[in-house]
């Protein structure tokens, strides 16, 4: 179950973007002074004890993220490569599904399919990139499963596409590698562990509710992993890399748990 070095060299020390603290020292000090006044009545920031923002203190962040890495290991242990997520009936499918990204639905930049291709990198035998037509020509599978967001909302959806384990086999991926990393058209990225990538329900998704993925929901290709939280399943994918190096991801780099299993 050892899927990641305990401390990756790619992981920033003491939290993300500490250098911006130095750059904006003046501004932050102003904010912190204001924070202290509010802290005088604040149980939450524990400001009475230290006079500063405990949660964002570098050593506290380091400790909390170390425990989060421990939780990655616990989750990898709890994860069963064969246990399937519960499935539901067609009648329960929410359509259209709930939108989510790190920006608003109105800010979605649709992928130009003429110039789009799915690129492969890392520990794969055939690095030839794929067009949407080529992906559509592969054997297709469907699932009706529950999407669970880390925020606490959920819905049942129907996703169709290529079984990801089959795809990895087809491209000659080294399935002994530790990670699969996804890069996306909108600048999003994400990394998952190989065990989850190989789970029978992990899917390279091309359709939602029997229709081609709408622009707002990841067209042309997203990954669907019913054993993981939503933020672990990037949309608008442009590149897939099989690697032993932990590359992080958009939310993972911002303190969200790496494993994100459910």
């Amino acid at each position: 179950m050892d899927f990641r070095p305990f401390r990756s060299v790619n992981r920033p020390e003491g939290g993300v973007s500490q250098h911006s603290l130095v750059e904006h020292r003046k501004l932050i000090e102003t904010v912190e002074r204001r924070g202290f006044l509010r802290g005088a009545v604040s149980l939450g920031s524990l400001a009475l004890l230290t006079g500063c923002d405990v949660s964002n203190d570098a050593s506290i962040q380091k400790t909390l993220r170390l425990i989060s890495e421990w939780n990655d290991r616990v989750q990898a242990f709890l994860f069963s490569p064969t246990r399937l997520a519960p499935t539901y009936s067609e009648a329960e499918v929410l359509n259209p599904p709930r939108f989510n990204a790190f920006y608003l639905k109105s800010q979605v930049k649709p992928v130009d399919i003429k110039s789009w291709k799915l690129e492969l990198a890392g520990l794969v035998e055939t690095r030839k990139s794929w067009t949407l037509d080529e992906l559509n020509a592969l054997p297709q599978v469907s699932q009706i499963t529950r999407h669970v967001c880390v925020e606490g909302w959920d819905y049942i959806g129907k996703w169709s596409g290529i079984a990801f384990a089959e795809f990895l086999k087809r491209i000659g991926a080294d399935t002994k590698a530790k990670y699969v990393t996804f890069k996306c058209y909108d600048g999003y990225s994400g990394t998952i562990d190989m065990a989850s990538a190989m789970h029978p329900q992990t899917q390279l998704t091309l359709r939602y509710a029997d229709q081609v993925l709408p622009d707002a929901y990841g067209f042309p290709v997203r990954i669907r992993i019913p054993t993981k939280l939503g933020y672990k399943t990037p949309k608008w994918i442009t590149a897939i890399e099989v690697t032993n190096t932990y590359r992080g991801g958009y939310w993972e780099d911002r303190g969200y748990n790496f494993f994100g299993g459910i």
């Binding site: 904010v31 939450g44 964002n56 997520a85 939310w251 969200y256």
Partner: protein, 230 residues
């Protein structure tokens, strides 16, 4: 209501060191779990009319956190919640093991009958409840302590159902699905917060109980059998 015993008294150990350590560690664990839980809840409130003020919840200053993590403290709240859960669970297991093995539960929380609860409730409401011997819990106390122990077990179980609705899908189903488990988790939190309010208020009314939870010792009537005091 003073908690000072009349007549001949002696000082006995009412809370052994292990119980005191576990109690105060639990205070820290509950504080972090509830505080961070409120910040997590606020992201997708179960009841639209209820959100918790950001300054009252744990997750850091919203402006600083936004600069670091791109959210107003949700990421930090999750980190706190999934760290303090270990303290809550491991500490709770130590307490349970000790309570059963050392016979503390049997001695302190039992016997307990509805009749005794009713009697002590009436006595408390009419300010006639006797606090001469704080080494012995009255029936209302026993009920509250037993109740909060069960609620703490349920808050952990429902937390597990929210954390792993696929790996423990049967547990999540048992609690009414993912949103059902969230509701159970929320109601347990509410019960725990209510308990804390009552518990702290009553402790302030009988301050010798606070001293006992710090020093372990309390002054009791001289005729109290030594075992009952432990």
């Amino acid at each position: 209501m003073s908690g000072h015993a009349k007549g001949p008294t002696r000082v006995v150990m009412v809370h052994p060191p292990l119980v005191r350590v576990v109690h105060w560690l639990n205070v820290i664990a509950i504080f972090i779990m509830v505080g961070s839980g409120w910040r997590i809840y606020d992201n997708v409130p179960i009841f639209h009319w209820l959100t918790f003020p950001i300054w009252l919840s744990i997750g850091g200053d919203p402006e600083i956190t936004y600069r670091h993590n791109g959210d107003t403290g949700f990421s930090n709240a999750l980190l706190w919640h999934f760290a303090a859960m270990w303290l809550l669970v491991l500490n709770g297991l130590v307490y349970l093991a000790y309570g059963i093995a050392a016979g503390r539960f049997r001695m302190k929380l039992f016997p307990l009958s509805p009749r005794a609860v009713l009697r002590d409730m009436i006595a408390a409401a009419t300010f006639k409840l006797d606090h001469d011997d704080i080494s012995k819990y009255n029936a209302v106390q026993k009920l509250l302590y037993l109740g909060v122990l069960c609620i703490l077990a349920l808050v952990v179980i429902s937390g597990l159902a929210i954390w792993k609705p696929v790996q423990f899908w049967w547990l999540t189903n048992l609690l009414g699905g993912f949103q059902g488990a969230r509701l159970v988790h929320f109601l347990c939190m509410s019960a725990i917060v209510a308990f804390v309010v009552i518990h702290v208020s009553l402790a302030i009314l009988v301050p010798s109980t606070i001293k006992a939870m710090i020093t372990g010792k309390a002054r009791v009537p001289a005729d109290t059998p030594p075992r009952a005091a432990e």
